[in-house]
């Protein structure tokens, strides 16, 4: 029972924090139809920028917002390399990801920055609530509603944005670029906006995870794109393809299920060393299941 309880709280807490990552990856992976490897760097960039600012005595909300802006800038650079220099989008992502490794080390000053003694977004919100006479402490149960509200705001912004004129143009850029070009849209710009938005969400995820886990680490972004893609694909395997609102819901639920399965795998005695194998298997399953389901329907 205790086991299940901690598995479930972990699923909500980590699932919500990784939900931002899944939303970011959704934009590039689903809308633009390419795996944007910038995420591997911008996730850590978000954590690094937030960590450096927090250690420097910055307000946690300001630090987290700065992390988002840094992520957006990283995405914009990838888009510029792709559109202005006509370099393949995956390669452009790899170039920026590689450059960000050094940037992240420079921002943090070292490979690992502990955040246990600095204020965090979660600690600040709990302190604000406690001002009304409560005595809450920062743990999974208090983190879950805070992360949930933040994620709800982020998801609502995405759903709203992708129904605006600019949002439609960005979606069409990924689906049928010649068509949206012939309607007068400069796709170099829509690509930049899309990638900036995507990486802002990825960096936000990194900043929140760092504050939740109590440290920022140079290696925390390794393999993060696959994590995000797994969340998107698991969600899609469950919800199918039903438009923007459901894609967003699916990505978040996918992130929760992914975290749950990873935690479960560790709980049943799997060595952390084998975790990547589990991720790969999950990814494969998420891709294969919709095909099986199609065959069953026929």
């Amino acid at each position: 029972m205790d086991q299940l309880y901690s598995l479930l709280t972990n699923m909500f807490e980590q699932g919500f924090l990784f939900g931002f990552l899944a939303l970011g990856v959704l934009i590039t992976f689903r809308f633009f139809r390419f795996p944007d490897l910038t995420a591997e760097g911008s996730y850590t960039l978000g954590a690094s920028v937030a960590a450096a600012l927090l250690v420097g005595g910055f307000n946690p909300f300001g630090a987290t917002f700065a992390a988002m802006l840094a992520g957006a800038a990283a995405g914009a650079v990838t888009a510029l390399i792709h559109t202005k220099l006509r370099i393949n989008n995956i390669i452009a992502g790899i170039i920026v990801m590689t450059a960000l490794y050094t940037v992240n080390l420079r921002v943090m000053g070292r490979a690992n920055v502990p955040l246990l003694s600095t204020p965090t977004v979660f600690g600040d919100v709990i302190a604000a609530v406690n001002a009304f006479g409560l005595t809450l402490r920062e743990n999974a149960l208090t983190t879950i509603p805070i992360a949930f509200v933040l994620l709800l705001i982020g998801a609502a912004i995405l759903v709203w944005f992708f129904a605006t004129d600019m949002g439609l143009a960005i979606r069409a850029t990924g689906q049928n670029e010649p068509m949206i070009l012939s309607l007068g849209v400069d796709t170099d710009r829509t690509k930049m906006y899309g990638l900036a938005l995507s990486n802002a969400f990825v960096a936000l995820s990194g900043a929140l995870v760092a504050q939740n886990h109590g440290f920022a680490d140079i290696g925390m972004g390794v393999g993060i794109l696959v994590t995000g893609a797994a969340a998107v694909l698991i969600g899609e395997a469950i919800f199918g393809d039903r438009g923007v609102l459901w894609w967003v819901v699916a990505a978040i639920v996918g992130a929760m299920i992914y975290r749950f399965l990873v935690a479960l795998a560790l709980r049943v005695g799997l060595d952390p060393v084998d975790l990547r194998l589990v991720t790969a298997a999950l990814l494969l399953l998420a891709l294969a299941v919709p095909r099986w389901r199609l065959r069953l329907i026929r």
């Binding site: 129904a163 600019m166 439609l168 069409a172 689906q175 049928n176 068509m179 070009l181 309607l183 849209v185």
Partner: protein
Amino acid sequence: MLEFRAVTKYFMRGTANQVLALDAIDLDIAEGDFVTVIGSNGAGKSTLIKAISGIAMPDSGTITFEHRDITHEPVYARAASIGRIAQDPNDSTCAGMTIEENIAMAERRGQSRGLRRAVNKAARERFAAALAPVGLGLETRMGVRVGTLSGGQRQALALLMATISGSRLLLLDEHLAALDPKTAESVMRLTARLIAERRLTALMITHKMQDAIQWGNRLLMMDSGRIIFEARDAEKAALTVNALIDKFHQIRHTQLTSDRVLLTP
């Protein structure tokens, strides 16, 4: 309205497979002209349209549209007043988005796109009113994805999208070629009606000589990147398919013989 001056375009220039797609084309299209273009495969018809829309940039020469040199303008910059429909219904609409989303994108042709909600109640009513005369019942299915429509429905939607906002020149690149004969006929009638109603200037490539004769006020025949024959108004109205075929072979033959004269000592 549209002027070509010595427009030349090569594909794969400098290689063994070099193709001369447009050979010093001079062409004047006046406002209100409806020009049909015929010619064999590789005659340069498509390249002509692609040069106007900016998809294929000419190697030399100038293209002027409404007194503005557009020769090297990017596609999106000239799209405000030029609508284009390609042969494949997948090209001119966005399959993964709904009918209303597609029309909303087309309605903003050439305008800035901001954070305004793209499809609201007023827009839906506007789109339904625009779709109803098309006569396919699409106005009751505006929330469905375009990918679920038939080829004819998608081309009809593409026509509406190309003409709904401010375009003054309509480019049709064999837009009926992928449709069955009956659908092609009704989409052609819709095309002619939209061109007349919105007083558009139009350039239509077709592989059906009958369509080329029946519609429009001017007819161009292209071969090897050149315009080899043109008929307009009364002369065009008097054309028949057989006369056109004869004309084509006659012109081709004289060219071949003159080439032979040049080549033999």
